[in-house]
Symmetry: C2
Subunit: 536 residues, 2 copies
């Protein structure tokens, strides 16, 4: 790097926002509202307190909590010291939190009182202290052994250090995010300042953030640092509105009162939004960005009925959240009916502006190890691979796992899909979810979309169940929108859409589907349920 | 840089646009319209022809011409080979072009026929060939010794190389742009792929480019690579509309027919636009970005009357064009009258999102060489300094000049100004233009703005003239909007605005002011004129 370059870091975004828009609203969390000058001050104050608590460059600091002004602040205060933030999923068990603290060598844990309380008997290895941030109503649990936030801040009393909004090396780790680890132990995904900066700019562009944007935090900040929007919203000097729990009533109240312009979430969040009793047509523009699963035609039409604009993005923890976007083509809105549009919107799309290409490659590379793209024919299945500044530095403490994930020079997602002739990628399945029935691959997502194209279907999941004859057979779990519909009717609908060998053997109706804390459907649970009942 | 990073380059923008929006209109130049697939194809074809003509990584390729599809293509084709583009100001004399070709070690010159013709007797040193691009009507002059563009392209016949939209090193030089050199020889300012990429993203953000933007090329592409919008418009997969000459009639025809959403230019371009007989209120949104001189209240109000949105940016050749932006504050539109707004809009503002801070520093650094900021009081004058990814790699072949420009670690602009309490910078003068009268500094810009606040004043320039008693005294050159006004009336108006010692001794009325090819007023010419007439 040339001597004259300045290392890329999202810290610059907060520094700039505080300089250019000091009096503008930056953060709302319950009754508290901070301007950008105050947000920057709180960040400097937290950085000084972290420093006074012994945090040094290269350390890891864990944060266990719901979305809050403090968690947002930690996204800047921790990196300001050259340390790495470990934003931990607040739904994990004490054992899982313990594993993450140990693995990341966290020296402190900050977090919500009720969550820290659960850790009281847990071995947190090198964690020297548990620091309790106030609840949204300002109250504190003062659970045994935790340090109240005010005491923590008081450690830096008299210190007037102003840290520069800079980093010494743009490849320094800014955050470590743990994979959900549906198989095996969670992995520590390392993000760099450079990657966070570029991904945040990509979010600014694709989501269309500007100084008058108002962002509602329906997405957990602990999920890939809120897809880098913890930094992107600040880049635009826009407003962060914290939301601690995704409830329809609260969302609608804030959407209306603050005239929210942007929010993100898994399809389940959109379902909560659309099915709340308070749901109504919006009187201001709202962009909703979704990921985690392709939005179903029903969800798409419900979101449209609200008057919101829906954007579908795709990525993984390893790609800072979104890497790809289903970028709308001007012709879609003019030339296609809503069913055709919905089927295009369900694709994962193309690499974002700040990403590289999204490729789909064959299982077998060429003899020299070069990855070979599948034919862009919409039918040859391969694995989605990604690379570049939008992809992690690697797995912490796992060079072998990192090397394996990057074989051929590209990160292997474990997602299987096709490349359409227009260059848009569509996922057909997670490698681990694909059903092999009589030697044929069945894409659970294809079957799900066939089911979801029926208007009565609101939520859907298809899994493979053991079958003595075929090896595996598809089984579907359905949540309806309240309409009465029989298994036979639905199966007839599906038969008209896909090949008969892909049609599920059985459909089970549910009132809800099990999801992860980030809104993804837990197919492993459904597989277990199904296995319990049909057993080989 | 980590092994997993991909070098930043604006080449990715064209690669992505061609992948994601192959059928979308990319370039219009006269009767020709290219889609993004065609734009990418033309670029690959030009790159192959350059390669067949002996261009190698590290070479410089000069281009001498007005805005055209070919000049735009060269912004991608030349860097695709790892070579550097030298886009030469088309108004320079053959001797100046010769100097630039020699200094940059250009191996080829591409350009417009009539411009290459003027070079026929000129020593171009290492330039092996002059390649003539077709005129907008497709015609060719075939001037002696030039190679027709079709012959040039034919050299790569049968070659089907597809260059990757990548660069090996993000610090590689992508372009060399020569300063206008009002004093001494022009300097060769080196831009890197990294800087061009980041500055282009900054333009995308601040100008608000999106896929449905339509950009009119009123700004010369040879001016700081069109402020990096040669790359930024492509980043958004938006439409480039080439304009070879800035004429009111043509501009208005294209503005209306193509529903242009964005254009850039010096205030003189805005004046041409606003004073054309075809001028009328726009029926679609248009953002006009101006730089080179602060827009006067008259220009601001005329642009507003057209229904366009005006944005003022600031930078130099050394900063890839714009480094700073007068970012509008929400309160300006609601709390201030139009005169107050105009005075704020005339400021140079704050560093862009992808830039660092814009600082104003004292002439004397601290003993250890650290630069000291002036007080943010709106009155202490200092020099504007900049640094980071938005500032050049250095002057080609001039390490001493580069070191001097970067003393204290920041690039010294030569512009003098103040820092206002709100953090916005305002230029008061070029260091070389400031008038020293009786030991007092007089800012020519301050005097100009006092004159420009009179509604009859359309164009204005103030220069220092030698004075036996005071050393120098200000003199004004005025272009009116057609209203009859006397020197005495105007002087009375100015006296009500600024201190009496700053009031010009004389006003000369002109029908136009001498400008550079980039629309800046040539004060040196006015000083010479004034000197001729008042002589000491």
């Amino acid at each position: 790097m040339s001597d004259l370059n300045v290392p890329l870091t999202p810290l610059r975004f907060l520094g700039r926002a505080a300089e250019v828009h000091p009096g503008k609203r930056a953060v709302i969390d319950g009754d508290r509202t901070w301007t950008y000058a105050q947000f920057a001050d709180h960040t400097q104050q937290m950085a000084r307190a972290l420093r006074a608590s012994g945090v040094r460059a290269g350390d890891a600091v864990a944060f266990l909590g719901a979305n809050s002004a403090e968690l947002l602040t930690a996204h800047y205060a921790v990196p300001l010291l050259g340390a790495a933030l470990v934003a931990v999923n607040s739904r994990l068990s004490p054992e899982e939190v313990s594993y993450i603290c140990k693995h990341s060598s966290a020296v402190l844990v900050l977090g919500d009182g009720h969550l820290l309380e659960q850790l009281s008997g847990t071995d947190l290895a090198g964690v020297r202290e548990r620091i309790e941030i106030p609840a949204q109503d300002g109250s504190s649990r003062q659970a045994g052994g935790t340090v109240p936030f005010t005491d923590f801040l008081a450690r830096a009393a008299g210190d007037d250090t102003q840290y520069q909004w800079e980093v010494d090396d743009e490849d320094r780790v800014i955050a470590i995010n743990y994979t959900s680890g549906t198989t095996g132990r969670p992995k520590g995904v390392m993000y760099s300042h450079r990657g966070a900066y570029l991904n945040a700019l990509g979010e600014v562009y694709h989501q269309g953030f500007a100084a008058d944007s108002r962002y509602l935090w329906t997405l957990p900040m602990f999920h890939c640092n809120g897809w880098c929007t913890t930094w992107a919203v600040t880049a635009a000097s826009a407003l962060h509105v914290c939301l601690r729990a995704v409830r329809g009533e609260t969302m609608w109240k804030i959407l209306d009162e603050e005239e929210i312009t942007h929010m993100c979430g898994a399809p389940t969040v959109l379902t909560t939004l659309a099915s709340a009793p308070q749901a109504h047509r919006l009187e201001h523009p709202l962009t909703i960005v979704t990921a985690g699963a392709p939005p179903t035609p029903t969800v798409i039409s419900r979101i449209r009925e609200l008057g919101a604009h829906l954007l579908h993005v795709y990525g993984l923890t390893e790609t800072y959240g979104p890497y790809a976007v289903c970028e709308p083509q001007p012709s879609w809105a003019t030339d296609l009916d809503s069913e055709q549009q919905a089927s295009l919107l369900a694709r994962q799309g193309v690499g974002m502006l700040t990403s590289e290409r999204l490729r789909v490659v064959r299982g077998e590379p060429s003899p020299d190890g070069t990855l070979i793209d599948v034919s862009p024919n919409g039918s040859e299945m391969g694995e989605l691979v990604m690379r570049g500044n939008s992809v992690m530095k690697g797995y912490l403490g796992d060079p072998d796992g990192t090397a394996d994930a990057f074989r051929g020079g590209w990160f292997h997602s474990g997602d299987l899909g096709v490349m359409h002739p227009d260059g848009y990628v569509q996922i057909l399945d997670r490698a681990k979810d694909v059903i092999i029935s009589g030697g044929e691959n069945i894409s659970t997502i294809e079957v799900e979309q066939a089911l979801a194209s029926h208007p009565a279907v609101f939520g859907v999941a298809v899994v493979g169940t053991p079958d003595p004859k075929w090896g595996e057979r598809p089984m579907a779990f359905i949540v309806t929108d309240g309409t009465e519909i029989s298994e036979a009717e639905l199966l007839a609908h599906v038969r008209s859409k896909i090949a008969s060998y892909k049609v599920p053997d059985r459909i089970e109706f549910r009132t809800q589907l099990p999801t992860t804390s980030t809104g993804k459907i837990r197919k492993s649970v459904l597989r277990d349920n199904a296995g319990d009942r049909v057993g080989p």
